[in-house]
Amino acid sequence: MFYREAGQYKTTYAADMAIFPIRQDRWGLALILFVAFVVIPTFGGPFLLNTMMIPFLVLSLAAIGLNLLTGYTGLLSLGTGAFMGVGAYACYKLATWFPQVNILVWIVASGFVSAAVGVLFGLPSLRIKGFYLAVATLAAQFFLQWGFARAPWLVNYNDSGAIEVPRATLFGVPVTGPSATPVTRYLVVLTLVSIMAWLASNIVHGRIGRIWMAVRDMDIAAQLIGIRLLNAKLLAFAVSSFTVGVAGALMVFLWLGAAEPEAFNINLSFEILFIIIIGGLGSIVGAFFGATIMHLMPIALRALPAMIGLPIEAARVEQLTFMITGILIIVVLIAEPHGLARLWQTAKQKLRVWPFPY
């Protein structure tokens, strides 16, 4: 009823294979982009932008990156946090070496460094599979994190041992550092995340994406139909680490403002992994759903008691938030084990046939 594609005819193959073949989807996307680009920056306060939206977008981007590897190619990675770190440190080095170059160039360029490191640690994936592959990426996680802590060169010998984000401007408007307004930072992050999500979506809908999915579904069979596993898997590691690295650079430069090696610890890796599982493996939009549950929901839960005026101590709130988050994760999984992206599919189907269930 609300979501009927009847009467929308496709006349070319390209139109049929479009990412959003249905008019309602295109309108929906336009509406979401309008809200994201216009409504939120206009009406949102600094708390909404700084604490909710920027981290949400950064985590979503990292989750998209991991999803390319884990959801689409079937290679489990627990090194996301460290790859984000590689992006962040690379961006810091590049930005301090060449401060005259636009910071956005370096944020994107840092992805290539991360991609190279990702490929290196992706090599064992040819021989090791499943949960066992996790050890290769865990080795990356702990080795890189140790490297961040042990190489003062990476932070230009700062006494604090942390990345101190330099001030940078874009067309005269500060985008990093303390004087950058939340709105500017939000818009920069949003633009980058939108572009990268769009690119990722194109990749997975095209030839490369199908190769990856073939490898995921059964790599021997994929090999038999002529897919070169080495290339496919390493490409997945490269593209995934690239995206994750950019997310890491964004995290430090536009969200945290300073970062110690501990910022990229194993918990971050797990958080991103859980975002894609709960959002839906093998779904770009799922990354955004997952980040909503894992990042926005706890913030809302924490704010809830203060909102309705319950006099609960801060620590108590935190503990309850943990408990409720845990319960909600299980509830969501029981309700829809394939992640929120599947739930969204089901909802669309329901909307399509409403009010007649069949």
């Binding site: 984000v165 550092g177 704010a303 620590a315």
Partner: protein, 436 residues
């Protein structure tokens, strides 16, 4: 799906409504970033209790500061930088007069923001050592001593009054392998070269806090004549237990000011003689702390367990709150206003003058040595003393020892300059200075 939508709607409503949370006009809003949860909750809880209880006591006993009630608001960070920033953003609209991050990671993220948001940062004896320089960091305060001061004080007292006493010895450094533990290393290395002692580094990774046996094998091999520890959270009790196990002589083992009573008590009899630096009294025998007992804890206005009062970290929290309160009181005095702002309190914190008489007036006679800040010195580089664990409580084991200013000051100047240089566009100080 419906529930999900509802959740989303609720979340949005929350997010939009939060900043609208205006504070009452006739009160001073003091947010406390605390961590009672997470892997470091053990160290964070007594500090949080001490900070909270002292301010609550001021509200009960004096009706706040200068007749203005304090609104004390705890925000749980879990010692996590991301949550700390969340706390910062959530308190910012309520016009806080200062923030107490209680984490070096959070402090580092907040330092650049302080001058823009006009909210002073009080990072009491942690954070960035270089921020002691008020001319470069007008918004950041880290009294009463930096980690570099602490190190020079440890080495001085271990060397019998002068660092030179360590010449030719082997000094081990067991440290938490993060910003906090790594900060003293440049000074340590410089001193090792100047004085001529042999420095051995024993880093403990945050993930291996409770798994230190290989470090203690190293220590057994190297047999250091002095072992200095900069530890936090679960690293402290584990290290002390390992020292007891390894029969490492306690008189050669000395820590920076963070181990708490419980950390040492857990190691049992063997920990007798363990020493740490401190700059304030322990125990509950102070009139102000008696007031806390009476007006706050006995009145059921706090969650502090009785046994915790007077422990090192509880009193540390109290000391932190004394600084908060004095900063506000000074700000009221300087500006003549009752309800002060962050900018006023910055001026107040630059004019702290806690001498023995002032401590006595606060009901904390003999609690701590004098502290005096100026526009240029946001730290006071106070003297500290060594305290020793006698099996049940701490006893003072030496006189006040001041830092080796000649060695520390050049490093500090250099570090502060380097920070400002590396962060191109670092603002040049133009904040008012009220020192006479």
């Amino acid at each position: 799906m419906k529930t999900l939508l509802k959740c989303a709607a609720a979340a949005l409503a929350l997010a939009l409504a939060l900043p609208a949370d205006a504070m009452a006009e006739d009160s001073i809003y003091v947010p406390l970033f605390t961590y009672r949860t997470g892997p470091f909750g053990g160290s964070g809880t007594p500090i949080a209790d001490g900070m909270h209880d002292y301010l609550a006591m001021l509200n009960e006993r004096d009706g706040g500061i200068g007749g203005v009630k304090l609104v004390v608001d705890e925000c749980e960070t879990g010692y996590d930088t991301k949550k700390g920033l969340e706390c910062y953003d959530s308190v910012k609209p309520k016009n806080p007069v200062m923030v107490n991050p209680w984490s070096t990671g959070i402090t580092l993220s907040l330092i650049p923001k302080a001058s823009v948001d006009k909210i002073p940062i009080l990072s009491m004896a942690y954070g960035l050592s270089a921020s002691a320089k008020g001319d470069i960091f007008p918004w950041v305060f880290n009294p009463p001593a930096t980690y570099w001061d602490g190190l020079s004080e440890i080495l001085k007292s271990a060397g019998g009054g002068s660092i030179e006493g360590l010449k030719g010895k082997t000094v081990g450094y067991l440290y938490f392998d993060a910003g906090f533990g790594k900060e003293p290393i440049p000074l340590f290395q410089a001193l090792a070269k100047d004085v001529g002692f042999n420095l051995k580094l024993y880093p403990v990774a945050p993930a291996d806090m409770q798994n230190q046996s290989s470090k203690w094998l190293d220590i057994r091999r190297d047999k250091p004549d002095l072992l200095v520890m900069y530890g936090w959270g679960a690293m402290n009790p584990t290290a002390i237990k390992e020292a007891v196990k390894a029969e490492f002589p306690m008189d050669k083992f000395i820590s920076i000011w963070w181990p708490n009573d419980a950390d040492v008590a857990a190691a049992g009899e063997g920990a007798k003689g363990f020493r740490t630096l401190n700059w304030h009294g322990t125990g509950a025998n102070f009139p102000a702390i008696a007031d806390i007992q009476k007006l706050v804890i006995d009145a059921g206005k706090s969650q502090t367990p009785k046994a915790e009062v007077g422990s090192v970290l509880y009193n540390r929290g109290v000391y932190n709150s004394v600084l908060i309160a004095e900063g506000i009181a000074q700000a009221q005095k300087i500006t003549g206003k009752e309800v002060v702002t962050g900018d006023d309190v910055r001026r107040g914190l630059e004019n702290l003058d806690l001498d023995a008489a002032r401590f006595k007036a606060l009901g904390l006679e003999g609690f701590a040595g004098p502290l005096k800040t100026t526009c240029f010195d946001h730290n006071s580089h106070s003297a500290t003393f060594v305290q020793q664990w006698d099996g049940t409580k701490w006893v003072k084991a030496g006189d006040l020892v001041g830092p080796d200013t000649a060695k520390v000051q050049p490093l500090l100047d250099e570090a502060a300059m380097a920070y400002a240089q590396k962060n191109a566009g670092w603002p040049i100080r133009n904040e008012v200075c009220d020192n006479k």
